[in-house]
Assembly symmetry: C2
Homo-oligomer: 138 residues x 2
């Protein structure tokens, strides 16, 4: 199975260690195309050595070839939103994992989209369970 | 002309007064479908009286019927990213307006997308000029 993982890069890297844990778990199910999202050495400047057109085209090619999209959506991110919007238009299966924080709400474009499987979680174990449930029917 | 304006709601309302100014200017060109994005009474909780499914379906209907999408992308936002990704897949004309800040970079999914007109600006006057250039050929 080809899995595209989406997490914030230039929107903020506060959750990068968590992305890495999720990616490591997804790899037990198949190939994770966008593994660099969990690279702890990647800063908010993200992929400075590549130009933005190259990054965009590579990631869109990966997304188009993927069987599913799994996104961690706690940190607001234009790129993650763009990838989700694109994947929904391509009728891909999408799982969004969200940790509820005080005074914050998930975008209605994500939480209100009938074509997305939305799961709120607290612990990594809960995220893994949501991934199991989502991927077992793919 | 029908214009869909995208700006952050639940990602943060710091730029809401600026959204209002941009929307007021866009209204000299046509109908702005998503005018509530510039409503200064709308908090980060955004549209509490409506449910998320209703907000999603209404906004997607507006976006699909729009001639163009104009987005202010300085505040990272999942919803704005989702709308841009969706609009690009629908082959809509998209203008993204961005104010560069210290230590911050625009997502490569936006800045590297060949189907988006990206403009960096500082003052409202510069944003208005970018809108003039973008809309004069529509």
């Amino acid at each position: 199975m080809k899995i595209y993982f989406a997490g914030s890069i230039r929107g903020g890297r506060g959750d990068a260690p968590l992305y890495k844990e999720i990616i490591d778990y997804l790899k037990t199910y198949g190939t994770v195309l966008s593994e660099q999202v969990g690279d702890l050495s990647l800063s908010e400047k993200g992929g400075d050595s590549d130009n933005d057109r190259y990054i965009h085209d590579r990631d869109m090619k990966w997304l188009t070839s993927a069987d599913v999209l799994v996104a961690e959506v706690t940190t607001p991110s234009l790129g993650v939103g763009y990838e989700i919007g694109n994947a929904v238009q391509q009728s891909k299966q999408v799982l969004c994992l969200y940790r509820k924080g005080e005074g914050k709400s998930l975008s209605a474009m994500i939480s209100g989209c009938p074509d997305i499987t939305n799961v709120e979680y607290t612990t990594l174990e809960e995220a893994k369970k949501a991934i199991d449930v989502f991927l077992k029917d793919i």
